[in-house]
């Protein structure tokens, strides 16, 4: 008797639970058969971009009778996107850096975007080049960024023409006890390939050669070649056992703070540092990173932020409409600039904000001769060994054996 009571009550609860969950599962089923609603677009971006995108996404949704959801993924956006895509739970559009393209393409996570020649010509040429991979355009760029030399104009009124100028001026300031460091260029215990690259390129080194179609060629690795050894000899001469300009103790955590603390007159950094510099009330100016006297130009890496269409999104047509025809408007680019001041990739948008922010033009000028950050998957194998070789050479290790070993490690990791 009692067993039956318990059984009946349990079955009743089961029915309740099932109906309750049935209510929950209405939503996903509606998504899977979107005939009921007008269609939905899901965008993944990082925190800052999400806030800037929201009003525009809502406007796009309202104008077109669709729902647009912007979801913030604050950590490891690329990895999360690739994994979620593979499982079929990814977004329709993703926003991120252009050097993700290689990895996203090899995982079949993004589709090419077709822009008309007219649309393409509205963009900065470098930005278009950056999102082109294997001859295909994979994203719509909206902002670009590169390193430049930020200097404290109270301490150093003149922009240095060469690294040697900079070192001489920095040493004078140090001797006069006005500063404690010559140059704030972040190195860190394990090096920083991105920040040292301008000097490396000026001294004659390169990472990858260029293939026939204009892409980087992973088979032509420049690290470990004689030119790279020569370049690192010059970098080593500026290191701890040499001039003491480059130091492992200056790292990503303290380089900007040391500059804003007026302990160094020169800082090598990007647009993201300007907010801190302004807050510290430092009179500053921005110029191109100088090269070695008699060497080549110092080429910073140019990185581009872009919108991508997910290959496994549920609403690809709408995603393509949004990316190809909506993100190419200057209004959106200006809003994204206001969220974080990086130079817009749309020429019209750049012209619009240039007047109120002279730094933008200076950063762009500093990156004019820059090199597009390689987006090929092989680039992932460069960062770590190259950085460590840099740190070792700056710490006083022999450039020749160190760089040769780094080149060997890198080529061993490239498939």
């Amino acid at each position: 008797m009692r067993i039956r009571t318990a059984g009946v009550v349990a079955l009743f609860a089961l029915a309740l639970a099932a109906s309750g969950c049935g209510g929950d599962s209405d939503e996903p089923t509606a998504n899977q058969s979107p005939k009921a609603a007008g269609g939905k677009l899901v965008i993944w971006a990082d925190d800052k971009r999400t806030a800037a995108l929201k009003p525009f996404a809502e406007k796009f949704g309202k104008e077109n009778g669709v729902t647009v959801e912007v979801q913030a993924v604050s950590k490891d956006l690329q990895t999360n996107f690739v994994t979620a895509s593979q499982q079929g739970s990814g977004p329709d559009v993703v926003v991120g850096a252009h050097d993700w393209i290689g990895n996203m393409v090899q995982n079949g996570a993004i589709d090419p975007v077709q822009l008309s020649a007219e649309q393409k010509s509205a963009f900065n040429e470098t930005a278009i080049k950056a999102v082109t991979f294997n001859g295909q355009l994979y994203g719509v760029p909206y902002a670009q960024e590169n390193l430049a030399l930020i200097r404290n104009t109270e301490l150093a009124p003149e922009a240095p023409k060469t690294i040697e100028d900079l070192v001489a001026q920095g040493k004078q300031l140090k001797a006069a006890k006005k500063t404690t460091e010559t140059l704030c260029l972040q190195v860190g215990q394990n090096g920083d390939a991105y920040h040292i690259y301008p000097l490396y390129s000026s001294a004659g080194g390169y990472l990858f050669g260029t293939a026939a179609n204009g892409d980087y060629d992973p088979k032509d690795l420049g690290v470990g070649k004689p030119a790279s050894v020569e370049a690192f000899k010059k970098i080593g001469a500026l290191g701890e056992k040499g001039e003491g300009v480059l130091k492992r103790s200056i790292s990503d955590t303290n380089s900007i703070a040391t500059f804003t603390g007026k302990k160094c007159a020169y800082l090598v950094s990007g647009p993201w540092a300007v907010a801190d510099v302004k807050k510290a009330n430092i009179a500053y100016d921005i110029s191109a990173i100088p090269g070695f006297a008699g060497g080549k130009e110092a080429q910073p890496f140019v990185g581009v932020q872009a919108f991508y269409v997910a290959a496994k999104g549920k609403n690809k047509a709408l995603a393509q409409e949004f990316v190809a025809n909506y993100t190419t408007t200057p209004e959106l680019a200006v809003a994204l600039y206001n969220a974080e001041p990086r130079p817009p990739a749309l020429t019209a948008a750049l012209d619009q904000v240039k007047g109120s922010d002279p730094d933008l033009a200076k950063f762009q000028e500093a990156g004019r001769n820059g090199q597009v950050l390689p987006a090929i998957p092989a680039m992932a194998a460069i960062w770590d060994p190259f950085g460590k070789a840099e740190a070792a050479v700056i710490g006083g290790a022999d450039p020749s054996s160190t760089i040769t070993a780094a080149g060997k490690t890198i080529s061993g990791q490239i498939k």
């Binding site: 349990a10 979107p34 303290n254 393509q320």
Partner: protein, 545 residues
Amino acid sequence: MSTPLSGPGSATQAPGRGPVGSRPPRSRAARDHAPITLTGLAGKVLLLGLTAGIAVWAAFPLIDGRNWAGLALLAATTAGLFYLYLTRRHIPAKYLVPGTLFLIAFQVFPVLYTASTAFTNFGDGHRGSKDEAVVAIQTSSVTQVPGSAEYALSIATKGDPATGSLVFLVTDPATGTVSAGDTGGLRQLDAADVTVAPGGKVTAADGYTVLNFGQASARSKEITDLVVPTAGGALRSSGLSRAYEGKAVRAYDAGCDCVRDTGTGQTWTADNEVGAFVAADGERLAQGWKVNVGLSNFTRVLTDENISGPFLGTLIWNFAFAIASTGGTFLLGMLIALVLHSPRMRGTNLYRVLLVLPYAMPSFAMLLAWRDMFNADFGLINNMFGLDVDWFGQPWTARMAVILVQLWLGYPYMFLVATGALQAIPRELTEATSVDGASPWQSLRAVTLPLLLVALSPLLISSFAYNFNNFNAIYLTTEGAPFPADNPTNGATDLLITYTYRLAFGGQGAEFGFAAAISLFIFAIVAVVSTVSFRRTRKQEEVYS
């Protein structure tokens, strides 16, 4: 881990089991008369209802994915659970099943999944199936036919907006003529029948319903899949308002199991051993697929000199780090606990609060703060003590630094557990030793310490296992530095886990299969160490109890 832990416990209970075992007749009688309380019944109904709810919730994706085996397993498990808790029999199983289910879900399944991944090449570039790779290769090779026009596009249908077959209404920018296109090709429409907006977009056409964005986007997949054949290639949609004439340059040919480039004629043949399309000259297409690679991940660990070369040195340092971290924190924590345990000590509560503080702070933030404190030029430690030590630049100072950080982070835990264990030791025992004329040191060595170790040994072993794989302690401080100038893959403070993380994820994309193989090796090492330690602990307990 929980199984060996309970080992000694159940062994000590063994003598008491006799009477329990002889009780069944009485307990069955008791069970029949056991009152069913309302709370008990409500709890049972609630939990079973929850089980049913979860089962229903989990069933939908399984049905969607047509995973019938999974669905059958789900149904069988749920039915089994209902049977078990609605019947009055199988009392022991009622207690054992929940724990077993959780053990399977959170321990056994991940271990089996890791083990099965270790035999594949799962990783970046090899995530999906071969079909997915083929689709990705073909879609990413669609290019606009050189010199072809860009069309303004409207999506339309002759039938119902939600179900009728779709038609592309495209306007030629040069001539302004409007055509309707479907899988059969393009047909020009009479200019009188269509209304064209200034941008070239068709807003209305006789006989067609033009879909708005909302209606069109609801049929997104059909639009993306609709290809209108033309002379030069095919008309495809680019979003919902533009169309272009595009052509897939690369196509898969099932006959030769290869991908052929129609432009250059080059072919890439499928290599099912490596999971990629490979050309005759060895060039691979980027999009590969997941294949079974057998033992090659394991043999790579053993035969690749870059990996096996520094393995032994890293293993020795790994043991040293785990032993020093565990032993150091234990000694320090226990000493402080002993001091504060002394009845003559005043203000012990205040001290205890202060001592536990490092434990209350998030270790992530603390590790980063310590990293900055060890900075050679700007760090607090060098500045405060007037030192000029390049802490993370030399192998031995870096090793000392990470152990010091571990000591600071870990001693409060040991202090807490040692305090608890000390309070559980009856004071009579130590008093008895002093009556017998033992010195405090003798009483500590002969009575307190052994009793303390009985209680803390399992914790020390688990702490050792934790520190053996303490990824954050290294990765957030030195990142393995310093590295020898000629070997950027293995640093002086690298643990096996940080070293292998770099190997598996540092190169060209993540290699989950390889990472899984290495983690199985580490699992084997930790399991052996733990088993041996627990064996010894059990012997020790038998001596003292």
